[in-house]
Symmetry: C2
Subunit: 255 residues, 2 copies
């Protein structure tokens, strides 16, 4: 087996990027930019993925569920499908900005939970976001648990990994985007914003929220209207709410 | 230590209900209906919870983080706070229906992932839902991982556990509620519904969706408009989107 290509996102000790779960593996097989190193499937998973395998023209190696349990740990819901692959080519901020006719760019400020980032990617794909920006450090790997939670969206939504979020927000501003930070303590509400045109929605980690410099790099800060007894939302739920509102605005419907 | 009270939700082999995480424990301390058996806190957690501890008038037992790691497993994010408690008194469907002036009832059809159910509860608390209905079987325990994800909402949102979901939906209909099932294959969209008045929002498990009998027990089936390349959402994200829309409708704003 060839040595996996290294790139700047990965440490030298990393092995190949692993994707598991039916939806994640199917989306990877259907993504021509996604390299296929090894495809390990149970009989059942191979049946479910038959169409995508045929379209890609690859050969799967047959395994039993226990083989994948041993490889991934017994608590990993792999659904009998494991793909050894490589990181996707990275997107630039300019590439993401060129796609904002279809929806907002989502920017995550050090959200570390892979399930949350995966769910954000999934909502970004569902509501037609232009792409996702994350910091290269303090973000989960674009693989495994994140890809499983993204349910295929990792191969549908372009991701830009950046060194310095404040500088990247400045760059997005120069590219003509309005940068809207979500902040539970803001006085303005997201429901009063016009969410059309080129915008970046900036969301912070649970608990910590947006860092000070991130806040200062936004054009405005808004909160989601929460009439109930709790005022903070799970970050992926907050992203879904705002992406949904933006999708409605783009269709000319009030949000 | 007294033997914890058993109730119908718990198997005889169960120990006390365990809640961990700062927000979950704080909300429990502030809930007078929540029994306190033992409160185990690190020095740091006790400082963060000082106000709630004083308000409740309880005494915490001092532990070090490793004590809780040993008790809960090394991967559990307990934040130095563990509460041994009992299940909350159960709510009836009629009690939930009497609260629908403030928001919809959320009904989950065999959603088994505790993080998802917890996140749904959290959004239900944020957007002011009337309560949550789940099946007693095929739902995660109202404790631990669910309570942590709910971030305090388990002690804010009343939950009804039912034996038979179709029968419960019939009962909610008799109580005057309109039952709206979320179904990605529906032709109608949720954005075209009036989400005011007494309504129940029925959501299914990922992958499986709503069971056939559950669908037949709804007044209408709707999908969330997803203009992007993926059409399915994480169940907690779908719940957040619809609860947000319902909250806007109740404020007389288009959704």
């Amino acid at each position: 087996m060839p040595e996996p290509r290294r790139d700047s996102r990965r440490e030298p000790q990393d092995g190949p990027v692993l994707l598991y779960g039916i939806h994640a593996v199917e989306a990877a097989l259907r993504n021509p930019r996604r390299a296929i190193r090894r495809l390990l499937l149970t009989e059942n998973a191979e049946r479910r993925l038959a169409e995508a395998i045929a379209a890609r023209g690859v050969q799967a190696e047959r395994v039993i569920p226990r083989d994948l349990d041993r490889r991934l740990g017994p608590d990993t819901v792999h659904q009998g499908a494991l793909l050894e692959t490589e990181p996707l080519p990275e997107s630039s901020l300019a590439e993401l900005a060129s796609r904002t006719d279809r929806g907002p760019i989502v920017v995550l400020d050090q959200v570390t939970d892979p399930h949350n980032v995966g769910a954000v990617l999934r909502s970004a794909a569902a509501f037609g976001a232009a792409g996702l920006v994350m910091t290269r450090r303090h973000s989960p790997p674009l693989a495994g648990a994140l890809a499983k939670s993204a349910s295929g969206a990792l191969d549908l939504v372009p991701v830009a990994l950046v060194q310095n979020l404040a500088r990247s927000l400045a760059e997005l501003g120069e590219l003509g985007l309005t940068r809207i930070g979500l902040d539970g303590t803001a006085s303005e509400t997201i429901e009063d914003q016009r969410l059309t045109g080129p915008i970046a929605l900036v969301l912070g980690a649970e608990g910590k929220g947006l860092r000070q410099l991130t806040k200062e790099s936004c054009d405005c800060l808004c909160r989601i209207t929460t009439p109930g007894p709790l005022s903070s939302l799970n970050v992926s739920n907050a992203a879904a709410v705002v992406l949904h509102a933006a999708a409605l605005h783009r269709q000319g419907r009030a949000g």
